[in-house]
């Protein structure tokens, strides 16, 4: 029981991180249409809010949060990532979210200290 608890406190829990990201996106962007002037502000808010919530989890991790917002315009977009890390302790989580007017992809990488 103790082992399980300590393992969860020091592991990268994908569901936990995924729900933090989804809440940030819903709160910041919600149903808004793509507006060039507001996107920068949304990006900063989403990324900072996610990072704030993640650091509050208090786990011994360094975090990288990346965010892509793309207007729905018929263009093709591909995104990939590759990581050179410690497989036993590090992890990542990518959340794809959309509304009627835009796509948003947020990736969180957590690397154990």
């Amino acid at each position: 029981m103790d082992d399980d608890q300590s393992a969860e406190e020091t592991a990268f829990v994908v569901e936990e991180v995924s729900s933090i990201v989804k809440e940030s996106l819903e709160a910041v962007i919600g149903r808004n249409p793509y507006e060039h002037k507001r996107v920068n502000q949304w990006m900063s808010s989403v990324v900072e809010q996610c990072l704030g919530q993640l650091s509050k989890l208090g786990k011994p991790f360094k975090y990288i949060v990346t965010c892509i917002i793309m207007q729905k315009n018929g263009a093709g977009l591909q995104s990939a990532s590759s990581c050179f890390w410690d497989n036993t302790t590090d992890g990542s989580c990518t959340v794809r979210w959309e509304n009627k007017h835009l796509y948003c992809i947020v990736s969180v990488f957590g690397l154990a200290i």
Partner: protein
């Protein structure tokens, strides 16, 4: 002199990494046009060759390489990233590359072990 050499071996050198990435992208995409069927292959190739060149540098770092390929179609695209790490030792580098039909954005994050 000794101190300079050892700090260079253990810090994130942006210029060196930018060069590695540009070579990887040029050799993979070069002058090709956007072709949906080839994109996955290009993405894997860019990300894997970048990562293997980076690991060959032999520095005590964990790396994350992310890549975005976007068709030039008039769509708006924004990207942002935020990092929670050790400012004195960790670093990141983003390379924006384009040809007539494709935009490619590659980001490398290096976190010291």
């Amino acid at each position: 002199m000794d101190e300079d050499q050892s700090s260079e071996e253990t810090t994130f050198v942006v210029d060196e990494i930018t060069t590695v990435i540009k070579e990887a992208v040029e050799s993979t995409i070069g002058n090709s046009s956007y072709q949906h069927s080839k994109i996955n292959q290009w993405m894997s190739s860019i990300v894997e060759s970048s990562l293997s060149q980076l690991t060959k540098l032999g520095k005590p770092f964990k790396y994350i390489v992310t890549s975005i390929i976007l068709q030039k179609n008039g769509a708006g695209l924004h990207t942002a990233s935020s990092c929670f790490w050790d400012n004195s030792t960790d670093g990141s580098c983003t390379v924006r590359w384009e040809n007539k039909t494709i935009y490619c954005i590659v980001s490398v994050f290096g976190l010291s072990i």
